[in-house]
């Protein structure tokens, strides 16, 4: 992979430093990778339970480098969701933190690397893997949906290179982790910086902990990344008044930032001679598709920008014709080498080749102004974002219907605001449903339950979501 081509030149440069002051070099990644590959013994499927630690990052990079195919999952994943993914995809190995070793059922620890264990499963039905397949990520991780995005090494290389170019990343950059490694945005930061031989600052602390900022200052963090929610927190904790002498840039992705917040951070950046870069992407496009150049962040406030280097955007109307005129909404379509191979819904899909051939219909509705800048205005598909991660509304319904047999559900919502309609009138239903949802998916805070004596349906039994959406706007009682 292009990603590792210069690794020998980078040699003893520091690849990562963590909050325990441990340092690892590019050379050490190389020897780790060799060892990992010899233990795994070929191109096989492995599940990685991710944390923001050096061990986790080495696992990820070691797989990419040697062709082992990892599915990246959060280490806090509920065991029942993990087990259903294991049953579906039959991984040969699990690479997990020692602290969650109990999640690696029916497997044998064959190697311990720092705080992580490589566990071999006694699996006879290993999936066949397409030779170009490099990485698997979930589409709606929290609901345990088996639907995965298949990424190739070519996808990852193309996107990493493009990001490094438009963000002007050089070897002096020192990004600090704020996003998990099971999240495409988090990985894109790792990829684009490893490509350029940078040092990553790895910490399990979050922006709400003083230790995070001590670590950032001590190790001269040069950039920080966040989803919209991160920026709300940053504002509340007085980020704009903090003394961060080495901080040069801030990036944002994972959903649309409210325009007022966009403006505040753009002004802050201008005032302090820093860069604030709003970006747009999806797991289906490896990570990044669009960005708003920092010098346009005030002038084009609210826009997600233009296509990244090597990519192209256009809009299509409902008939699939290109929308040429400015300011007319249409579905945003992207073309570029970072458009991934396609989805996998079961084990047998892992042998599939490139199904999308470089073109992605994003499902987002956008318009373009007369100067070529794009503005997201809505969404075609039935999903919302909760703290930057996609939550498929149909998947939430499926989970609830499986848990509560005989009860009907319908989910609607906007980002960070999920409304669950149910025909169950029991007074405790709301709390019970939210507790269950929270326990299994971690979604809960952004969710509310409402009672309807009957979920509206059309003649063929399809839920009429539009009827529900009109009443879902008000925050409700059993939150």
């Amino acid at each position: 992979m292009l990603l590792f081509e210069k690794e020998k030149i980078y040699g003893d440069r520091i690849l990562a430093v963590d909050d325990k002051d441990r340092k690892v070099t590019y050379d050490q990644l190389d020897s780790f990778s060799g060892e990992l590959y010899s233990k795994v013994g070929g191109k096989k499927l492995i599940f990685i339970l991710c944390e923001n630690t050096i061990e986790s990052m080495f696992g990820y990079l070691g797989c990419l480098k040697t062709g082992i195919v990892p599915l990246m999952l959060e280490s806090r994943i509920h065991p029942s969701l993990l087990n259903s993914l294991i049953r579906e995809y039959h991984p040969a190995f699990l690479y997990v933190p020692e602290t969650c070793i109990e999640k690696a059922e029916a497997s044998e620890v064959i190697w311990q690397f720092g705080s992580y264990c490589l566990c071999r499963r006694n699996e006879k039905l290993l999936p066949a893997l397409y030779s170009e397949l490099s990485l698997l990520l979930t589409t709606s991780g929290s609901t345990g949906s088996p639907k995965l995005v298949r990424q190739s090494s070519g996808n990852i290389d193309a996107n990493g290179k493009s990001i490094a170019s438009y963000l002007e990343i050089d070897a002096n950059e020192r990004p600090i982790t704020t996003l998990p490694m099971n999240y495409t945005y988090g990985l894109s930061i790792i990829n684009s910086h490893v490509l350029m031989g940078c040092t990553l600052l790895i910490t399990k602390y979050g922006v709400l902990e003083p230790a995070f900022w001590d670590f950032a200052r001590k190790n001269r963090a040069s950039s920080i990344a966040g989803v919209p929610y991160t920026y709300q927190i940053l504002k509340r904790i007085g980020f704009m008044k903090m003394d961060l002498p080495d901080l040069k840039s801030m990036t944002q992705a994972g959903g649309k930032l409210p325009s007022s917040l966009h403006k505040e951070f753009a002004l802050y950046a201008k005032r302090t001679n820093r860069k604030f870069i709003v970006m747009y992407g999806q797991t289906e496009a490896t990570a990044r598709m669009g960005y708003l150049p920092a010098d346009k962040s005030l002038e084009k406030c609210g826009s997600m920008g233009i296509a990244i280097p090597g990519g192209r955007f256009w809009l299509e109307d409902e008939q699939g014709n290109e929308v040429i005129e400015p300011d007319i909404p249409g579905e945003l379509v992207y073309q570029g080498k970072n458009v991934t191979l396609g989805y996998a819904c079961c084990k047998d899909d892992l042998i599939k080749q490139d199904e999308w051939r470089g073109v992605l219909h994003t499902g987002d509705i956008a318009s373009r102004d007369s100067e070529g800048y794009y503005f997201i205005t809505g969404r075609k598909k039935r999903f919302i974002k909760v703290s930057g991660s996609r939550v498929n509304l149909d998947e939430v319904e499926r989970l609830l219907k499986e848990q509560y047999e005989g009860i009907d559900f319908a989910c609607v919502g906007t980002d960070d605001n999920l409304t669950i309609y149910t025909d169950c009138s029991s007074p405790d239903a709301g709390k019970d449903i939210l507790d269950y949802l929270y326990r299994v998916t971690g979604i809960g805070r952004a969710a509310a339950v409402r009672y309807r004596n009957k979920i509206p349906k059309n003649e063929s039994g399809k839920t009429l979501y539009q009827e529900l959406e009109t009443t879902a706007d008000n925050r409700m009682e059993c939150k």
Binding site: V207, L208, E209, I237, Y438, G444, R445
Partner: protein, 78 residues
């Protein structure tokens, strides 16, 4: 309701915990006390007690017990 009862109620509601678990509760010690839970809790405490935490205190509010000390700074005896 006493201040302590109000204080406890907000933890129980926002972090989905039981009363008996409150004493040892720490930020990120349980899955529900994450950044989102924290911001909910802080916002609710501000609303219920009609105070406004300064930015350092938002971050220093790292446990159930530590929170009591911080509340004292704002004139709320728990």
């Amino acid at each position: 309701m006493t201040n302590l009862e109000k204080y406890d109620q907000l933890f129980i509601k926002d972090l989905r915990v039981k009363k008996e678990d409150l004493e040892d509760l720490k930020y990120r010690g349980i899955s529900t006390w994450d950044s989102m839970g924290h911001m909910d809790l802080v916002t609710d405490l501000e609303e219920v007690f009609d105070i406004h935490f300064n930015t350092a205190d938002v971050m220093n509010f790292s446990s159930y017990e530590k929170g009591k000390e911080i509340m004292k700074k704002y004139g709320v005896m728990i």
